[in-house]
Structures are given as C-alpha cells and as structure tokens.
C-alpha cells in the first residue's frame, strides 16, 4: 500500500491556524457609537481619528454610518480593549457602548 504523503507543514501556518481558532472562541465585544441629535458631525469625525488613529476618510465613513443608520460598529475587541475604547469615546461625550458579539 502506498503511503499517503504527509503534507509539509510550514511552522508559521500551524501557528496562524491556532490563533484563528483561539480568537473565534474568545468572546468578542463590539464597540458601537450611536446617533444623537447634538454631537456635531465634524466633532465625531475628529474623535474617531483621535481615539482609533484612523485616517480622515475612514473616520468620516463611520461618522456617516452613525448619522444615517443610527449606529456604527467601530471595533470588535476583547473585554479590556472594548472598555478602553468606550471610555475614550465617552470621555469625549459621544454616545458609545459595548455589546457582546453574538
């Protein structure tokens, strides 16, 4: 019987697969910014740029999503990181919360 060839494994590949599985198992938290009638659009864009380090275009995209759709999911993070972002956004008086994903 011919032996089945064992696929050659590149060490990096195995590592990557493991970390993918891990991140799927970890509970993720969504950082959400909600629309309100009082925060200025330019200010919201400015805050997204400051808090997430995003370029203006990306910050504007999420700001418009908040404005037009009522909310925007800004990030999916671990509990600690999500709390950090919500704290930063609320420090700037934006209407932001974190919700368990799924």
């Amino acid at each position: 019987m011919a032996e089945t060839a064992t696929p050659e494994l590149v060490p990096g590949t195995v590592q990557e697969q493991k970390s993918d599985v891990k991140s799927e198992l970890e509970p993720g938290y969504l950082v959400i910014c909600w629309n309100d009638p009082v925060n200025y659009m330019d200010y919201v864009t400015h805050v997204f740029q400051r808090v997430f380090g995003w370029p203006r275009k990306k910050a504007e995209f999420h700001m418009l999503q908040v404005h037009e759709q009522g909310k925007s999911v800004l990030a999916r993070e671990s509990l600690e990181k999500a709390e950090h972002y919500v704290h930063q956004l609320q420090k700037h008086s934006l209407h932001a919360t974190m919700e368990l994903d799924g």
Partner: protein, 150 residues
C-alpha cells in the same frame, strides 16, 4: 477667531477680546454632564462592576480636566495680548482637550434641556441659559474644528 500659524507643533489662535471673554465664560461652566449619565452597555445593564469602573474613570478624567482648566484660566502666559486681540497658544493635545471640555458643556446643557430630539421651539427664562451655553460651546467647537481642517 483665526488660526494665525503653527509654530513648533503649537497652534496659535488669535481671538478678539469679546471672543476671549466668551470662551472663558463657557469654559467656566465645565463640567456639565451629570455623573453616571452614560451606560457602558445597552444590552447588559447587569454588568454593574464594570459600569462602576467606567463611572470612576470618567469622574477621574473630569477631575483632571477641571484641574487643567483651572491652570489654563489662571495662566497669564497662555493668552498674550496682541494688538487689540489675544493670542492663544495650544498644542494638538491641548486642542483635543479643549474640544472635549467644550463638548461636555454642549452635551451637558442639552441634557439639562431634557435631551430634546428636535431643536427647541420655545425660548424662555427657564431654557435660555442652557440653550445659550449649548450653542456658544458648539460655536467655539466648530470654529476650532474649521480652523484645524483648513
């Protein structure tokens, strides 16, 4: 208000005397947002421990802002007279902080007005002070943001 230049990473603004007086008047209203105003989560209000930590962190940030604000208001070097106006020198971090403080005054005033979804139709003795603070803080915010964008 004008942005007259950026020197060594500091933004140099020029304000008229009236603009300076109004800005200081608005800043003295800080903090305006009531403590515990913001929930950490809409769907998991049971996370009381985390909510308490967030409230404490926000209260601490408010105290730091208040101290920095008092330092700004008492620092005679921050505002320098230039001709008939006043020159205000701010780093990028200062500008972000100032916008934060102004937005607190704006949002806190809006909360005092009952968080209306639509602009107020009626101006009266009861609503006028909060409406004035909200609009004035917003006007300064927009001026700073417009100048930074340009």
């Amino acid at each position: 208000m004008k942005l007259i230049g950026i020197e060594d990473g500091r933004h140099e603004f020029l304000l008229t005397r009236r603009e300076k007086d109004l800005l200081l008047l608005v800043l003295r209203l800080y903090p305006r947002i009531p403590a515990g105003h913001q929930p950490l989560s809409k769907t998991r209000p049971e996370e009381k421990a985390n909510q308490r930590l967030l409230d404490e962190a926000l209260a601490e940030a408010r105290m730091e802002n208040k101290k920095a604000l008092e330092a700004l208001l008492s620092d005679t070097k921050r505002f320098k007279q230039q001709g008939s106006g006043w020159r205000l020198s701010l780093s990028s971090t200062d500008v972000d902080w100032l916008l934060q403080v102004l937005n607190d005054v704006r949002i806190g005033s809006w909360v005092q007005l009952g968080s209306p979804e639509q602009p107020l139709k009626e101006l009266n003795v009861r609503t006028a002070p909060a409406l004035w603070a909200m609009e004035m803080a917003g006007a300064f915010q927009m001026s700073f943001l417009e100048l930074l964008k340009a």
